[in-house]
Symmetry: C2
Subunit: 192 residues, 2 copies
């Protein structure tokens, strides 16, 4: 076996696995929404795991900067783990800015069983919320390469779910995602 990691097949559980990828600006509400969806899915008795970009940077990617190259590598690593969990029948919720479309499309293609959730709030709203004070720092020039300020965010062209977190309640956003997950799991065939 050349690369045993890529070859395994779990036909028995494959059709329960799915990666739900939350992308959006810092402060758009990815983690909050992710946690709400997590609770709802747990209540349904599903096996769910959260991969939070911030936490993963501490655990797996301490070496990576916020350059485009390193951001892409970070997304690749998250995608690698999400793929492994997904093919083992686990529902994976990923919360990561993941600003580049190509990197998101790459993990979508790799994982196959994938829903993209665009956590959509205007930059001005995110900047006003500024829960971690990062926008202020970025505006003052203390943070370089901050998404939305001096680094691009490429919006999803055709997300599976779009949540306008500045216009709808957390409950509404969460229900949209949970219902998309249910649809996917009910109507999909065992994945690639």
């Amino acid at each position: 076996m050349d690369d045993p990691i890529a070859t395994s097949d779990r036909s028995g559980t494959a059709n329960e696995g799915l990666t739900v990828w939350f992308t959006g600006l810092s402060g758009a509400g990815k983690t909050t929404l992710c946690n709400a969806v997590y609770s709802a899915l747990l209540d349904q008795g599903r096996r769910v795991e959260i991969l939070d970009g911030d936490a993963l940077r501490r655990h797996l990617s301490r070496d990576l900067s916020f350059s485009k190259e390193d951001r892409d590598e970070n997304i690749r690593r998250i995608g690698f783990i999400a793929d492994m969990l997904t093919r083992n029948g686990i529902l994976v919720l990923v919360a990561a800015i993941s600003p580049y479309r190509a990197a998101r499309d790459e993990v979508r293609q790799k994982i196959g069983r994938f829903l993209e959730v665009f956590v959509d709030a205007p930059l001005s709203v995110c900047e006003e919320r500024d829960p971690k004070g990062l926008y202020r720092k970025a505006r003052r020039g203390e943070l370089r390469g901050f998404t939305g300020i001096d680094d691009p965010y490429e919006e999803p062209l055709l997300p599976d779910v779009r949540c306008h977190t500045d216009q709808e309640t957390l409950e509404v956003s969460s229900r949209k995602v949970v219902s998309a997950v249910a649809d996917y799991l009910n109507f999909s065939r065992p994945g690639p």
Copy 2:
């Protein structure tokens, strides 16, 4: 939730998850044994995943060298993923030289549900096998910090299973591990 990754609980499936950690010199037969155990466990209908140190270096740790610090970080990353899979009810087989006792003990403690398999073959045998030609390179000084040559390997003091791959057949080694796994899963209570 501060660090959602660490807080989840899977009481329903926790007692199926287990990390089996194969440690030993390069050329001792970790990957070969790992693959044999993998097949046997798959045949039993278990959900199994292999985390191969070499493959993971390509996927997750391209940035890491073979210094002690980077080796420890590599083991920590593998342990992080193994932990996540284990608490989701998956049998994880890790094949990694993992030369430092403290790093292995750290992941064992973190994961909880853990068996250490010492893939034990004398250095002279491993060096004679030299399946990847690495020992020759190390002896010629073309590779620095090679475990067993100019870098230490700290043997497990009390491994759960010890396989003398120079004295016993692959089948015997594999059966020892599979039987230890069965014992663990039959007699263990849902993990920490």
